[in-house]
C-alpha cells in the first residue's frame, strides 16, 4: 500500500489549477478581473494561438507594491479579504487569492507591475511553483501579466482544448462578460496581431451593451431600473422583436459579476411570456445589485454560480422589473411591406399605458399561491359588501410599487391618445361607433367612428387616424381572454358557472397524480373537478369567462402536457400554462364569421387589456401600417 504523503506545492497548484483554470479563457477571466479590482480604466488583452502560447493582460490600475509582487503569486495570497467576516462582505471580483498561483502552476508567468508612487517597477517570473525574485525594471504604472505556454506541464488539459476558433470564442466571451458590467473601463482584445474588440470607456451603459449585442440594437434596448429594499435591478431589455432562437444574448450579473443562474434566466423569459414565441429567447442584460450578505459566491471556484439566501427575492425582482418595463411600452410591430426589410424594427415609443400592472400581477400571483386552495364549497360572504381591492390586498408588499389603479380610474382612451403626442406608432383607440357597440360591451369613451372590416373571416382591418391596423382575430381574442382571466384573478372574483350536467373526462391511471396536482389550481380558476369513477373525472364548474371552452378538451391537453413535463413546472408557470391553453381554446377561431357588433366588442375590449399587441404565445395580434409606410411604398415620399 502506498504511503500517505503531503503533496508538494507544485502538485497542489496543478490540482487547484484544474478547478480555477480549465482553459485559456479562464486565465483571461481571472487576469481581467484582477485588473478591474485594481481600479484600471483601460485593459488590453493580447493572445496568440487562442491563448495556447500567449496571454497578456495589461492594465493601468493601481499596481502591486514591489515587496508584495512575489507574494501575489503565492497560494492564498490576497489583498482583498483578511478575515472570515470579510468573506460575507465581498465587493471585489477576486477574493480567494489563488488565481495567480494556479495560473503560475501551469504556465510560464511573468508579472510586471508598478505603483504610481514608485519610480520603477518590478518583474517576477514564475515557473510551475517556483517564484523567482522580484527584479527592478522599467514599467508603466499598472500591471501586466504574461502567461506563456499554458498547460505545458499538464498534457491532459492540453488535450482537452478545443479548436482555436472555439477557444478564442471562449476568450472573447470571457472578456465580454466583464466588459458588459464595466462600461467605464475600456477593453481591447487582440488575437494573433489582429484587433478583435475595441470597447472604449463610456458613461453610457446602454452603448456598451449595444456594442456587444449589436450596435444597431441601441434603440431597441429598453433601459430599466427597479428598486426594492433588498434588491436593485437595472437592465437593458431587448424589444420582443430582437428575440432569437438562442439564449446567447442573455447576461445576468450580480454585483457586477457575471453569473449563471437558471432561475433568474427563467424570470427573464417569464417576463417576456406572451410577447415572444416560446421557442425564442429574449435579448436581455440584467444587473442585479444586492447586499453581499444576501448571497454566497463561494460555491464554485470560478465564482460563476451563486447561492441566494432568498432565491425568490431576486427572481421576483427581475420578473417584475422587466415585465413592468415591457407593459409600459407599445410593442406593436409595424407591418412590413418591403421585402428587403426582413427584420422588424419596432420603435420604442412614449409609455402608452402607464400602469403598474406588472407589480400588481406579481403581487396577485404571489397571493394567489399563498392563499389556500378553495376547498370544497365557499359562500359569497363579503365579496359584494367589501370587495378586495388590489390596493388593500394583503401580503406581497415587499416592493416599492404603487398600487394599480382600478380600470375605472385609468385615463380614458381619449386622454391617452393625446398624451401620446401624436407619435405615429401610438395605436389609435377603439374604432367603434357608439351605435355599433353591443348593449353590454364595455363602454369606455371612444373616439371615432373608425371603420373596420373583417377579411377572410380571420383578420380585422381597422382604419385609424394615421393609417390602419390589421388584427388577427383569434390572437387578439386569445390575448384578451388571457388578460381578463388574469385580471379576474387579480380582483379575486373569478365567477364560475356551475354545471347542471358535469362534463365527464376520461383519465389514464398514470394521470391520477397529475389530476391531484392541478385540482386546487383549477379550483381557484373556477374549474372544479372531482372524481367521477375509476377511469374518469367530472368537471363541475367553469369560469363564466370561458363559456366557449370545451372543458374536456382543455383537461385532456393539460393532463397530457403535465404528464410529459412532470413536476418540472412550478405553480406560477403552471398557472400560465393553464391560462394559455384555456384562452386559446375559448377564443374565436380563424374562420369564424363575426358580426359587426362582435367585432366592435372585440375592438373595445382590446383597449382594456395590456399587451394586446401579442397573443399569449407571443405572436403579434396586430400589425400596423401607417400612412407614412403606405406613402413610402407608393413612392409618394
Amino acid at each position: 500500500m502506498a504511503d500517505i504523503r503531503l503533496l508538494s506545492d507544485a502538485l497542489i497548484n496543478k490540482i487547484a489549477a484544474g478547478e480555477v483554470v480549465d482553459r485559456p479563457a479562464s486565465v483571461v477571466k481571472e487576469l481581467v478581473e484582477n485588473s478591474v479590482d485594481a481600479g484600471a480604466t483601460s485593459i488590453s488583452v493580447t493572445v496568440e494561438n487562442a491563448g495556447r502560447t500567449l496571454i497578456r493582460v495589461a492594465d493601468n490600475g493601481g499596481g502591486i507594491a514591489p515587496d508584495e509582487a512575489q507574494l501575489s503569486l503565492a497560494r492564498h495570497a490576497t489583498s482583498k479579504i483578511r478575515s472570515m467576516d470579510d468573506l460575507f462582505e465581498i465587493h471585489t471580483m477576486g477574493f480567494r487569492g489563488e488565481a495567480l498561483a494556479s495560473i503560475a502552476g501551469v504556465s510560464h508567468l511573468t508579472l510586471v507591475t508598478r505603483q504610481a508612487k514608485d519610480a520603477q517597477g518590478v518583474r517576477v517570473e514564475a515557473h510551475e511553483s517556483t517564484v523567482g525574485p522580484a527584479e527592478p525594471c522599467a514599467a508603466p504604472v499598472g500591471t501586466s501579466i504574461e502567461v506563456r505556454d499554458l498547460f505545458y506541464c499538464v498534457p491532459a488539459r492540453r488535450k482537452f482544448l478545443r479548436s482555436d476558433t472555439a477557444e478564442f470564442g471562449h476568450i472573447q466571451e470571457a472578456l465580454v462578460r466583464v466588459a458588459l458590467a464595466q462600461s467605464h473601463v475600456g477593453f481591447s482584445l487582440t488575437h494573433n496581431g489582429r484587433k478583435i474588440l475595441d470597447l472604449a470607456a463610456t458613461s453610457d451603459h446602454r452603448l456598451r451593451v449595444a456594442e456587444v449585442v449589436g450596435r444597431d440594437h441601441y434603440d431597441n434596448l429598453l433601459p430599466l431600473a427597479f428598486k426594492s429594499p433588498e434588491v436593485q435591478v437595472a437592465a437593458f431589455a431587448g424589444m420582443p422583436a430582437l428575440a432569437r432562437a438562442t439564449a446567447r444574448y442573455q447576461y445576468v450579473f450580480l454585483n457586477g459579476r457575471f453569473i449563471r443562474d437558471r432561475s433568474i434566466l427563467h424570470a427573464v423569459k417569464e417576463a417576456y411570456r406572451g410577447l415572444i414565441e416560446p421557442s425564442h429567447q429574449p435579448m436581455a442584460v440584467v444587473f442585479i445589485t444586492m447586499p453581499p450578505v444576501l448571497f454566497d459566491v463561494n460555491v464554485h471556484p470560478q465564482k460563476i454560480e451563486v447561492r441566494f439566501r432568498d432565491p425568490n427575492a431576486a427572481y421576483r425582482a427581475v420578473l417584475a422589473a422587466i415585465r413592468e418595463c415591457l407593459l409600459s411600452r407599445d410593442l406593436t410591430p409595424r407591418a412590413q411591406l418591403r421585402p428587403d426589410a426582413a427584420v422588424p424594427q419596432p420603435v420604442p415609443t412614449a409609455p402608452w399605458r402607464p400602469r403598474d400592472t406588472a407589480a400588481e400581477t406579481r403581487r396577485v400571483l404571489a397571493d394567489f399561491f399563498k392563499a389556500a386552495p378553495a376547498g370544497g364549497q365557499t359562500t359569497m360572504s363579503g365579496q359584494f359588501e367589501a370587495p378586495v381591492s388590489p390596493a388593500t390586498m394583503p401580503g406581497g408588499q415587499s416592493f416599492a410599487v404603487s398600487p394599480a389603479a382600478p380600470l375605472a380610474e385609468l385615463p380614458s382612451v381619449l386622454e391617452l391618445g393625446q398624451a401620446a403626442d401624436g407619435d405615429a406608432s401610438v395605436p389609435a383607440e377603439a374604432p367603434v361607433a357608439a351605435k355599433q357597440m353591443s348593449a353590454n360591451a364595455p363602454s369606455l369613451p371612444v373616439p371615432g367612428p373608425y371603420r373596420f372590416q373583417q377579411f377572410h373571416q380571420s383578420y380585422i382591418v381597422v382604419e385609424e387616424d394615421d393609417g390602419l391596423v390589421i388584427i388577427d382575430q383569434h390572437a387578439l381574442h386569445e390575448r384578451i381572454i388571457y388578460e381578463e382571466l388574469l385580471e379576474r384573478i387579480r380582483r379575486g372574483t373569478l365567477e364560475a358557472q356551475r354545471l347542471l350536467l358535469p362534463v365527464v373526462v376520461p383519465v389514464l391511471p398514470e394521470q391520477a397524480d397529475v389530476v391531484e396536482r392541478v385540482r386546487p389550481l383549477l379550483a381557484r380558476l373556477g374549474i372544479e373537478i372531482n372524481h367521477f369513477d375509476a377511469g374518469s373525472i367530472a368537471v363541475q364548474s367553469l369560469p363564466t369567462l370561458l363559456r366557449r371552452l370545451n372543458p374536456a378538451e382543455l383537461l385532456k391537453q393539460l393532463l397530457d402536457h403535465l404528464l410529459e413535463e412532470g413536476d418540472k413546472l412550478q405553480d406560477e408557470h403552471l398557472l400560465h400554462e393553464v391560462l394559455d391553453m384555456a384562452s386559446c381554446k375559448a377564443a374565436i377561431k380563424a374562420g369564424d364569421p363575426l358580426t359587426d357588433a362582435e367585432i366592435a366588442a372585440l375592438l373595445a375590449r382590446r383597449q382594456l387589456v395590456d399587451r394586446s399587441s401579442n397573443c399569449p404565445h407571443g405572436r403579434p395580434t396586430t400589425v400596423r401600417l401607417t400612412l407614412r409606410d403606405l406613402e413610402r411604398q407608393f413612392k409618394r415620399r
Binding site: 378553495a374 364549497q377 365557499t378 359562500t379 359569497m380 360572504s381 363579503g382 365579496q383 359584494f384 370587495p387 382600478p406 380600470l407 375605472a408 353591443s438 353590454n440 360591451a441 364595455p442 381572454i481 381578463e484 379576474r488 380582483r491 379575486g492 372574483t493 373569478l494 365567477e495 364560475a496 358557472q497 356551475r498 354545471l499 347542471l500 350536467l501 362534463v503 379550483a523 381557484r524 380558476l525 373556477g526 364548474s541 369560469p543 363564466t544 369567462l545 366557449r548 370545451n550 366588442a601 375590449r605 382594456l608
Partner: protein
C-alpha cells in the same frame, strides 16, 4: 315546365327553402332548389324542394297557374334575388331541357340550371301522424324549451330539443348543460310512447313554418327522421301562401341526459314572486354586468329579494322587490341572462323558485307546464 306564380308567395317559399340550403357546399346541386309541378286534389300546384342532406323542406305553393308540367333545378340564391327584386305581381317561369326563362313585364332572365335528376331523392310524409297538434300549442312548447338548448356543436347530444311522449303527455326538454327547460302539454288522445331529439337547426325551420296558431301540424317519427307537416286546416276564403310544407330532418343520435335526474327534489326554500317584476329586477340588476363575466347576486329574505351586481370597472347596482319566502334566507348567484330567458316565456303571473344552497340548482316553475332548472354562478372564487 311553365308556371305563372304570385311573386310575393314565391319569395316567401324561396326564403323558407333557402333556410335549408347550405351556405357553402362542394356539391353545386345542394345550392339549388328544385321546382316541380305536382297533382293535388285541389289541382296542379308548384312544389319547391331544398335539402342539405340532413334536413329537407318541401313546400307547395297554392297561388300559381300551371301551364305545362315538368321540373327544374335552379341555384337558390340567384333565383331568390331575381324574384325578390322583380317589380311585378306575377312572374312566368318557363323551362325546357336546356334553360329556364323567368319573365316579368319588362325583364327576362335566362338561367342554365342543372339536371333535376341529380337532386337527391327526398322522402315525404307517409301514412298517419304520430301526433296531431295545433301550431299554437307546438309553438308555445317550443318557445318554452328551445332557448335552453346548446348553441355550439360541442356537446352534440344536447344540441337539440327532446320530444317525449308518455300516454297523452307531450314533453319538450332542452338543456345546454348550465340550465334545463321543460315544457309539457296534454294531447287530446293517447298514443305510443317515444323519445327523440330534434336538432336545433330543424327546430328553427319548423318555427318559421308556424305562422298561424290555427295551422295543423302533424309529426311523424320514422326511419330515424322526423317528418313535420304543416298545413292550413281552415277552408277560409283567403288562400294561404304556402298550402302545405313538410320538413324532414335526421334526429340527433346519442343519449339525451335523463332530465328527471337533474331536477332536484330536496329543495327546502321556496320563493314566490311576480314574474314580470322579477324579470324587470333581473334585467336592471344586470345592466352593469359585462359581457364575459356575468353574475347577479340574489339575496332572498323572508319578505324581500335584493338583487345586486357589481362590475369592477363600471360600478354596482341594487334592486329590491317583495317576495314570499318559505325557509331560511339565502344568497345565491345566477347568470341574469339565464333567468331572463326563462322569465320571458313563463305563462303565469306568479312564479316560484325552489332553492337549497348557493351551489345547488334552483327550480323555476310557472304553472304546471313549465319548469326550469338553473345552475348558480359562484361569485366569490
Amino acid at each position: 315546365m311553365k308556371v305563372t306564380v304570385h311573386r310575393g308567395a314565391l319569395v316567401e317559399v324561396l326564403a323558407l327553402a333557402s333556410g335549408v340550403v347550405p351556405a357553402r357546399s362542394p356539391k353545386p346541386v345542394l345550392g339549388c332548389v328544385k321546382l316541380s309541378t305536382v297533382e293535388t286534389p285541389n289541382g296542379k300546384v308548384l312544389r319547391v324542394l331544398s335539402t342539405d342532406n340532413e334536413i329537407a323542406l318541401e313546400t307547395t305553393l297554392g297561388q300559381c297557374d300551371v301551364k305545362r308540367e315538368g321540373s327544374v333545378l335552379l341555384p337558390a340564391s340567384k333565383l331568390l334575388e331575381i324574384i325578390n327584386n322583380s317589380p311585378d305581381d306575377t312572374v312566368v317561369i318557363d323551362s325546357d331541357a336546356q334553360k329556364t326563362t323567368i319573365k316579368g313585364s319588362d325583364s327576362k332572365f335566362v338561367l342554365l340550371g342543372y339536371n333535376p335528376e341529380e337532386f337527391p331523392p327526398i322522402s315525404g310524409f307517409e301514412g298517419n301522424a304520430d301526433i296531431d297538434i295545433s301550431a299554437g300549442m307546438l309553438k308555445a312548447l317550443l318557445d318554452r324549451s328551445r332557448f335552453a338548448a346548446a348553441k355550439e356543436m360541442s356537446r352534440y347530444a344536447i344540441n337539440g330539443v327532446m320530444f317525449e311522449r308518455k300516454g297523452r303527455r307531450l314533453t319538450l326538454v332542452a338543456t345546454d348543460g348550465h340550465r334545463l327547460a321543460l315544457a309539457k302539454e296534454d294531447l287530446p288522445v293517447e298514443g305510443p310512447d317515444f323519445s327523440h331529439v330534434v336538432p336545433i337547426k330543424a327546430i328553427t325551420l319548423i318555427e318559421r313554418l308556424l305562422t298561424d296558431p290555427e295551422q295543423k301540424v302533424e309529426l311523424q317519427f320514422r326511419e330515424n327522421r322526423l317528418f313535420a307537416r304543416v298545413s292550413h286546416g281552415g277552408e277560409g276564403d283567403k288562400k294561404p301562401t304556402v298550402a302545405t310544407a313538410v320538413l324532414s330532418t335526421v334526429l340527433v343520435e346519442g343519449v339525451f341526459p335523463n332530465y328527471n335526474d337533474v331536477i332536484p327534489k330536496d329543495s327546502d326554500r321556496k320563493a314566490t314572486l311576480k314574474c314580470e317584476r322579477f324579470a324587470s329586477a333581473v334585467r336592471r340588476a344586470s345592466l352593469l354586468t359585462n359581457e364575459e363575466s356575468k353574475g347577479v347576486k340574489l339575496s332572498f329574505q323572508a319578505k324581500e329579494l335584493v338583487l345586486s351586481s357589481r362590475a369592477a370597472e363600471v360600478g354596482e347596482a341594487t334592486v329590491e322587490m317583495p317576495i314570499e319566502l318559505h325557509g331560511e334566507p339565502l344568497d345565491i348567484g345566477f347568470n341574469p341572462q339565464y333567468l331572463q330567458d326563462a322569465l320571458k316565456v313563463c305563462p303565469t303571473e306568479d312564479v316560484t323558485l325552489d332553492l337549497k344552497t348557493a351551489n345547488k340548482p334552483g327550480i323555476l316553475r310557472s304553472g304546471h307546464n313549465f319548469l326550469y332548472v338553473i345552475m348558480p354562478v359562484s361569485l366569490n372564487l
